[in-house]
Amino acid sequence: MATPLWVRALGYWAYQYRRTWRSSITTSFLYPVLYLAAIGVGLGSLIHHPVDGVRYVDFIAPGLLAATAMQIGSNEAMYPVMMGIKWWRTYFAMLATPLRVLDVLRGHLAWIAVRLTIVSVIYLAVVAAFGVARSPLAVLALPAAVATGTAFAAPIAAFSATQDKDVGFTTIYRFGLIPLFLFSGTFFPVTQLPGWLQPVADATPLYHGVSLCRGLVLGQLSLWPALGDALYLVALTAVGYLLARRTFTRRLVV
C-alpha cells in the first residue's frame, strides 16, 4: 500500500532529526531538567510552605512540562518553516514530487507533534523519578503537553509562512514567549499577579497548558475546567492549522 503523502513529508523531518538529535536533546530536554533541579529542588528547598497545597518542586515540574512544550512547538514552527520556504527551499523540493501543499504542512506539523511526544515522554519519566507524579492521570499529561505545543506551533507556522526574514521570530520571543514563560503560572500561581493582570494570564494558551498538565500530573483536577483547558488548546491548534493552510498555499503556490 502506498505511504500517505503527508507521512512521506514527515519522513523527511525524521530523517533530518537523525543528524540533529544529539544537540536537540540538550536544548529540549536537558534544560527543563536543569530548571527543575535548580529552581524546583534548589530554590524550592527554601520554600517551606506549600504552594497551591503541594511542595514547590511538585508545583513547578508540570508547569515546566507545558512551558517546554510551548518552547519546542514554537521554535520548530519558526526557523524550520523559514528553511523550507526560503533558505533551503525544502518545501519546494517536496512540491516537485507527488506531495501537495497540504501534505507539506501536515507532515511538518505531525513531525512537531512527534518531537513534542519524544521530549514529553522523557521529561515525564524524569519527573516520575523525582517522585512528583502521584496520579495515574499523569499519563494524560503527555497528550496535554503535545496539545500545548501544537497550540503554539500551528498558528506560529501560519505566521512564519508570511515572513521574509527571521526578525519577526525575535519579536515573538521577546514579547510573547518569554513573558508567557515567566508569568503564565509555570513558576508561581497567577493569583500572585496584580489583579488586573490575572485575566490576561488566564487568557494565554500557556496558562491553560500549565493548568491542565499540573492538574493531571498531581491528580488535582476538576472535570469542567480541565475540559475547558483541553478544548482551548485543541481549538487554537485547529484555528492555527486553518490559517496555516491559507498562508502556506499563498506562499508556496505561485
Partner: protein, 303 residues
C-alpha cells in the same frame, strides 16, 4: 503534452502570454529566450508546481489542476534554483527524494549508486552538501531528478554552472534517456546545447513564442547560411555597418563586433576588403541558433 492558450499572470503582469504547443512522447523540446522571457514560468506550469492562470494544459494526458500528484509522480524536475538539503549528505539527499516517490529503500540505494557514478559524486556520497561547489550541487540536483526513473524530464537551465566535461556527460545521458523513449523538456542559454539536444524548440520573448521549429529549420528561416564577423575599433561599428549595408542580406551591430549575413561569406569578406575596409579581425562561419536568437530577440543568448 498539449498547451492551448497557456497563460501565467502575476497580478497584472503577464509572464506567459497565451502560448500553444504540443510535445510528443519521446520528443526533446527546448525553450530558448532572454532573461525574463517566461521560460521558468512555463516550466513550473508544465511540471505541475505552479497553477495555470489561463488556457488549458494536459501533461501526460492529464489535467494538472486535477491530477497534479499523479502527474508529478512521473516527472523528474531540475528547477532553476537548487532546493537541496545543505546539512544532509549527498546520498541522504537522494534517499529522501526517493522516499517522496514512495520507492523502496533498497531500490533507491541501488539507483543512487548509479546516479552518483553518473554525476561523478561517488567519492562525495557521505559528505555534506553545503561545502560542495556550485557545479557539484547542480549535478546532484540533476541526479536527484532521475531517482524516480521519470517518463518526463523537465530541466530548467540544467547545465548552468557545469564545466564542459560535466555538460557533455549530461548531454550523453540525456541522449540515452531519449533513446529509451523518455520525453525531455529543456530550457537553456547555450545554443550548442539546444542544437545538440532538441528535436524542436521555441524561442520565447516577452511571454510569447517568437519562432518554433527544428534547429535546422529555424536557422534556414531566420538566418542566411553564412555569417561574416568583423571586429573594428570600438565605436566604429555603427558607421561601418551603414556603409557595408549593401554587401549583405542583413547586418547586426553588437558592442564588440559587426555581423554580416550572407549566402557566401568568403565572397562578402573579399568585397569588404575591396571596398577599402581593414577590420582588426575577420571570421567567416556557418550560421547557428545564436544568429536566429539575435534576429528574433535583438539580444545575444548569453547575456
Amino acid at each position: 503534452m498539449v498547451a492551448r492558450g497557456l497563460t501565467k499572470r502575476f497580478g497584472d503582469f503577464v509572464a506567459v502570454d497565451s502560448v500553444d504547443f504540443e510535445i510528443d512522447r519521446g520528443e526533446s523540446f527546448g525553450f530558448l529566450g532572454p532573461n525574463g522571457a517566461g521560460k521558468t514560468s512555463t516550466m513550473k506550469m508544465i511540471s505541475c508546481t505552479s497553477p495555470v492562470s489561463g488556457g488549458t494544459l494536459r501533461v501526460l494526458g492529464m489535467d494538472p489542476a486535477v491530477d497534479g500528484t499523479r502527474i508529478r509522480a512521473r516527472i523528474g524536475l531540475v528547477p532553476q534554483e537548487d532546493s537541496l538539503d545543505l546539512e544532509l549528505t549527498v546520498l541522504d539527499n537522494l534517499m529522501i527524494y526517493g522516499r517522496y516517490f514512495d520507492l523502496p529503500r533498497p531500490l533507491i540505494r541501488r539507483r543512487a549508486q548509479q546516479l552518483l557514478e553518473f554525476a561523478q559524486l561517488t567519492d562525495r556520497a557521505d559528505d555534506r552538501v553545503d561545502p560542495l561547489s556550485g557545479g557539484m550541487k547542480r549535478r546532484l540536483t540533476i541526479a536527484r531528478s532521475l531517482i524516480s526513473d521519470p517518463d518526463l524530464l523537465i530541466l530548467d537551465e540544467p547545465t548552468t554552472g557545469l564545466d564542459p566535461q560535466a555538460r557533455h556527460l549530461l548531454w550523453d545521458r540525456l541522449y540515452r534517456l531519449k533513446q529509451e523513449g523518455k520525453t525531455l523538456v529543456i530550457t537553456t542559454h547555450y545554443m550548442d546545447e539546444a542544437e545538440q539536444l532538441c528535436d524542436r524548440l521555441v524561442v520565447m520573448d516577452h511571454g510569447r513564442f517568437a519562432a518554433e521549429g527544428t534547429p535546422r529549420e529555424l536557422i534556414e528561416r531566420y538566418s542566411t547560411r553564412e555569417v561574416v564577423e568583423l571586429r573594428f575599433r570600438s565605436g566604429e561599428h555603427e558607421s561601418v555597418a551603414h556603409r557595408l549595408a549593401g554587401l549583405a542580406v542583413r547586418s547586426e551591430v553588437l558592442p564588440d563586433r559587426l555581423l554580416l549575413y550572407t549566402a557566401d561569406g568568403d565572397a562578402t569578406l573579399s568585397q569588404v576588403h575591396a571596398a577599402g575596409f581593414t577590420p582588426e579581425s575577420a571570421l567567416v562561419r556557418r550560421a547557428t541558433l545564436e544568429d536566429v536568437f539575435l534576429r528574433l530577440t535583438g539580444r545575444t543568448l548569453v547575456d
